[in-house]
């Protein structure tokens, strides 16, 4: 369902943040929230407006058993299944029943071979993480980067986002290709870079003309960058 009228949207966002939007209306609203970034912003604004009321709440240290229970639910899966798989696992829990999710984690365990995972958190100039990239290093065959764009970002349609790998030392950046603003995407590493990327020191993303950099080197501003970390 779409809430078109601005006044209704505002009123619903306010009552959702207040907690008085209930039952079927609340469920419907939560479904709309998932597809409507502007509505999410309205809710975030209301949450921020009302948040000081929580500051007046008396902090109470919870019993130690709460943390133990949380750890039990959070630790085992991620230790066994590794980095992205554990996200897949917990994503799964949100969607499917616990049983199905456990099955999923077990199947990931058996499918994913033991390689090191390389992770890059690319941040903006204020150190806010914006994009994460990960891949399996020392893997044979086609190598793919998993790219996750955080939040809901927008790109000028007349431009392109180009991903660069920074080789060790002072060598020049090498293009890995273009990415989009989609939340999750896969980039196939060019054949000639499949070995080299494992020793990259950092990745960066620059804004280029549509179609990518005309020179083979970054020409526009570098929006995000981050060092490569071996997990």
């Amino acid at each position: 369902m779409k809430y078109r009228n601005d006044q209704i949207r505002e009123a619903l966002a306010a009552e959702y943040a207040l907690g008085t939007l209930q039952g079927a209306a609340r469920q419907r609203f939560e479904r709309s929230l998932r597809q409507d970034p502007a509505l999410r912003r309205l809710v975030a604004q209301w949450q921020a407006r009302l948040a000081p009321l929580d500051e007046a709440a008396q902090p109470v240290t919870p019993p130690a058993r709460v943390w133990r229970a949380i750890q039990q639910r959070v630790a085992p899966a991620s230790r066994r299944a590794g980095f992205w798989n554990s996200i897949g696992f917990w994503r799964g829990t949100a969607l499917a029943s616990t049983t199905a999710a456990v099955l999923l984690a077990v199947s990931l365990l058996t499918i994913v071979p033991r390689h090191e995972t390389m992770v890059v958190v690319m941040s903006d100039d204020q150190s806010r993480p914006q994009i994460t990239v990960s891949w399996q290093s020392r893997q044979r065959g086609e190598k793919q980067l998993r790219v996750r764009v955080m939040g809901h970002q927008t790109m000028d349609p007349e431009t392109a986002w180009e991903l660069w790998m920074l080789p060790p030392g002072d060598q020049k950046p090498v293009s890995l290709g273009l990415i989009t603003t989609h939340e999750t995407q896969t980039v196939v590493v060019p054949v000639q870079l499949q070995q080299a990327i494992d020793s990259a020191r950092a990745l960066a993303m620059s804004v280029e003309p549509k179609g990518g950099s005309p020179t083979g080197l970054p020409t526009g501003p570098v929006l995000y960058q981050g060092p490569c970390t071996k997990l």
């Binding site: 209930q22 975030a44 000081p52 929580d54 058993r65 229970a69 959070v74």
Partner: protein, 184 residues
Amino acid sequence: MAEPDILAQLMARCALRDQRAFAQLYRHTAAKLYGVALRILRRQDWAEEVLQESYVNIWSHVEEYSAAKSAPMTWMTAIVRNRALDWLRRPHFEHGSEDYDLLVEALPDDAQAPEALLALGRDARALAECLKQLSGNQRQSITLAYLHGLSHGELAQHMREPLGTVKTWIRRGLERLKTCMEAT
């Protein structure tokens, strides 16, 4: 480093599945969030359960958090609040139970809430000033709903007024609150 920055950084590390960062995040925030859950649920066992669910939820969705949208604590508090409200409105929850009705009856009116807020930061003062400008009924229904998770029906029961009247107080009160806070 300021507290929100510490939390944002811990959350970024949690997005990389850093268990130690998650433990630190818990140490920094659990008492506050448990306080929020207790205030809404009023029962320790329920609040523990909701706190546990909330942190599992925070861990599994932490990569969706983006600093641009809201402060870390606001984001986490919203998760706890939603979980707590879900808990109160479970289908099998005995809503009409006498115990619960008595709890609702016994709630304080929170007329003091604006005063308590004045001692806090700038945002809190702005909210307090604007809450003061609402009518007593508007202020009371909004603070009771937020602080204790009361539904429209429970508010009507607590304030001994018709449901429609309470709904109007809330709607108009929220509108005035927004206008006032945007002006300050």
